[in-house]
């Protein structure tokens, strides 16, 4: 690109800069996102506002275009990577300032299943939406999910399976939660290529999420409902 087309981030006003950061996230420009975050913080923006208005709002656009089949995995990975770089700057500041927490998710691929591309995408998009994500990796037995949910005081359990032979294991995890009287404490979301809504219902999950963007939206909806309930109760 020619030099004259370059945009100098520090010369943009706040509104322009935030819009530019949305574009830069969309294009997966990690260094520009880091720069933008630092500029906004330098202008005395609250870390929470930088997170929500610049990063989360930008990732929402990425998520919507991923859902609509306009962006695909490579672009989303790059965008999530840029988001992560911005988050790394904000994370300690958010903790210091006691910013509101969106929610916490424990996520993992079920026992017997080693596929993790889809799960990783969900994790990244959830982080992109401001959730805290604890990633248990692949091949998780029921005990590992339960232990992590309790230890992390999580709100959401996310399970992924890519194989028709491993997806029934999700039911084992949900049934165990029920047996132990823990089921009502968590929002259970499931996903993976061979699944569908009917399956999600059949095994007793709260929702089946078709892709990472849907997972984020569903998680937000359930968390909002949970808060409303608490407020009303």
């Amino acid at each position: 690109m020619a030099d004259e087309e370059d945009i100098i981030l520090s010369e943009l006003d706040d509104e322009e800069l935030v819009l530019q950061m949305h574009d830069d996230l969309y294009d997966g420009l990690k260094e520009e996102i880091e720069e933008g975050v630092n500029i906004l913080l330098g202008r005395d923006w609250a870390p929470y506002d930088v997170l929500t208005k610049a990063l989360v709002a930008g990732m929402t656009i990425v998520g919507a275009d991923f859902r609509d089949g306009i962006l695909f995995v490579p672009e989303v990975l790059l965008a999530a990577n840029a988001m992560k770089a911005g988050m790394a700057i904000l994370k300690p500041l958010l903790a210091e300032t006691g910013a509101p927490k969106v929610g916490k998710m424990v996520i993992g691929t079920v026992k017997g299943d080693i596929h993790d591309i889809g799960k990783n995408l969900v994790g990244m998009m959830m982080e992109g939406a401001g959730f805290e994500v604890v990633d248990l990796g692949i091949n998780n037995p029921v005990e590992k999910y339960l232990e992590a949910l309790e230890r992390e005081e999580a709100d959401i359990l996310g399970m992924s399976a890519l194989l028709t032979t491993t997806m029934p294991y999700m039911k084992v995890v949900i049934d165990t939660l029920k047996e132990k009287g823990m089921r009502e404490n968590y929002i259970v979301l499931v996903g993976g290529a061979p699944l569908n809504e009917e399956f999600g219902r059949a095994i007793g999950a709260d929702a089946y999420c078709r892709d990472a963007a849907v997972a984020v939206q569903t998680a937000k909806d359930f968390i909002a409902r949970k808060h409303n309930k608490l407020g009303a109760g």
Binding site: E5, I7, D24, G69, I70, N139, T165, P168
Partner: protein
Amino acid sequence: MSDPLTRLLAERDWLMADGATGTNLFNMGLTAGEPPEFWNTDRADDIRSLYRGAVEAGSDLFLTNTFGGNASRLKLHGAQGRVRELNRIGASLGREIADAAGRSVIVAGSMGPTGEIMAPMGELTHERAVAMFHEQAEGLKEGGADVLWVETISAPEEFGAAAEAARLAAMPWCGTMSFDTAGRTMMGLTSAQMVALVDRLEHPPIAFGANCGVGAADLMRTVLGFVAAGPERPIIAKGNAGIPKYHDGHIHYDGTPELMADYAVLARDAGATIIGGCCGTMPEHLRAMRAALENRPKGPSPTLDEIAARLGGFSSASDGTGEDAGGGRERRGRRRG
């Protein structure tokens, strides 16, 4: 001298490939998480039965039980040291069944994806991908595979790495990708882009196409996309037998043998030359497909509406090809690092 698959393609208007490997093995008792490739040594008779099932149902070509037989996948089971052995034996069992068939049957050495994301997005370098595929290819070659059969690939870079591995192993090959995300591969490749990719490879495949994905209807749309792009090579269609459904703790695919028979004929009419099934496709499906291919006359290429009427609707409105290929986001100033 040409290879056996090229010779067979020259003699015939269409060839029938096989059906599912995984679904069949699970019916024989494979448990979730167990690598199917271990059965090549541990339960060789079951693998012989798997291959024989396809041949007896009329397949002209079948895939070896080596889909996950690359170092990256086997490493998850601590078996990265067994790549050569498991592939060689998987292919040699196939050779044994094909040679006993009494007609020309092709042993296609299955090579699935590494499961890793390639650089720069992921960690897998081109060199390491080529090395892994090459190791697998040499095992398949040693065991007597006629061709390598690269399948269910999403990333063009990984497809290219497999092509290079086939060249290094001096083996003819076929390659199919899985178009499972809004009519594209997970990495966003359209059917038309795959045709362009195949045509510029230094060691191009004998035939190329689509496997797995969503359902038979989506796969047919992909085949039409290939044809529209004017490919130079035969097209492969290996679609799933419908969509997986959950019943009483286990999974079955809802595609009937009749539906798969319709699909096979539609695929041929659309311009596919090598036609088979993927997940959920059992010997009874293959028998119905073979009978339909033999008995029903070739018709005109089906339209999308006809495909939807016969096989069910599509998973997305567009597949990223043709008129509605655009759809990028309006953006502000462009900058690139």
